[in-house]
Symmetry: C2
Subunit: 173 residues, 2 copies
Amino acid sequence: MDFFEYIKQVGNEIILEKGTHLFRQGDENEFLHFIKEGTLKAYYNNADGKETIKSFIMPNDIIGSLTSAYLGKKCSFSLKCLSDCKVIKFSFAKLVIDSSTNQQIANKMVEFLTIFAMKKEQREYELLCLSAEDRYRLLVNDKPDLLEMVTQNDIAKYLGITPVGLSRIKNRQ
Amino acid sequence: MDFFEYIKQVGNEIILEKGTHLFRQGDENEFLHFIKEGTLKAYYNNADGKETIKSFIMPNDIIGSLTSAYLGKKCSFSLKCLSDCKVIKFSFAKLVIDSSTNQQIANKMVEFLTIFAMKKEQREYELLCLSAEDRYRLLVNDKPDLLEMVTQNDIAKYLGITPVGLSRIKNRQ
DNA sequence: CCATATTTTTAACCTGGGTTAATGATCGAT
DNA sequence: ATCGATCATTAACCCAGGTTAAAAATATGG
């Protein structure tokens, strides 16, 4: 069975208004979410009260808290709709079980997890090796459309700096 | 078949002297490496000539460049032995192929990739949300043994700061 | 055990981005 | 169209960590 067919079959489609949370930091949530429509942000509320954005999520992405879904721990971040959204939520635990007896599902899982891991490694690289300004320049180059879709405040929080800092960077040459 | 049995069967055991590179940034390398003995570092040579350390690798860890192994691109980092090492190298492409027809291998792949992805997310969190000082305090708490095994220079490069910076942090109360 | 290399610390000075706060620009709901 | 809320910019000041360089402490190979 095709992976998307699988998700449609085992999952539940839900409609969410802009501003709604799928889950909040501290919740337990065993689901992954396939995004059919809309944009979301996954973000941390830091100890000092500030927010930083872990990632933006777009149509066809899959998002969820692995630590909560796989280990049963609490979500380390919150997931919020930046626009009205249509998503299919499905159980990660069930997916792991189903993939353990269905080779096709397992293959898709391997592919999905490998690509996910590579994305996380890229982000790690950017945060470890690049200055905030370099990260911004790279984003402008690699995802110019993203800049149109979310506020500059959120871009700053994604880059790990403040909106004031980003405004300064933009107005440097 | 057990996963470790699989690795032993398809892989090649190699002995490496301290200081040897398994691969260098810019190489193509399709292998994953299971570490039987020794400590290694995965590190970037940044554009400005500085080095930053992506991760330390210990016995029973598996390390390789996913982007090179899975996508055939060049390795974005180098992998070097910090001590004499015994490792088993095996092809990632072959692993993916074998896992596509062997459910047991596939299950292990899913487990391995999920745990790997969670580790990368934890690192992302630390780099995005914590100050260098907080990252150091966390490391002291979570991996005190690591501090004994590698130089302070390398700890600094792992935290994303300079050795001078780390020395200062240590000598703050 | 000595000589050399590497690691760690210290000091002086610098800079990117944080903080606070005020101002203006936009957006959205009524 | 208007009001309040959010967003973006600017300015003044601050600070964590970078840079350079030198000294002190440790390792390491012969």
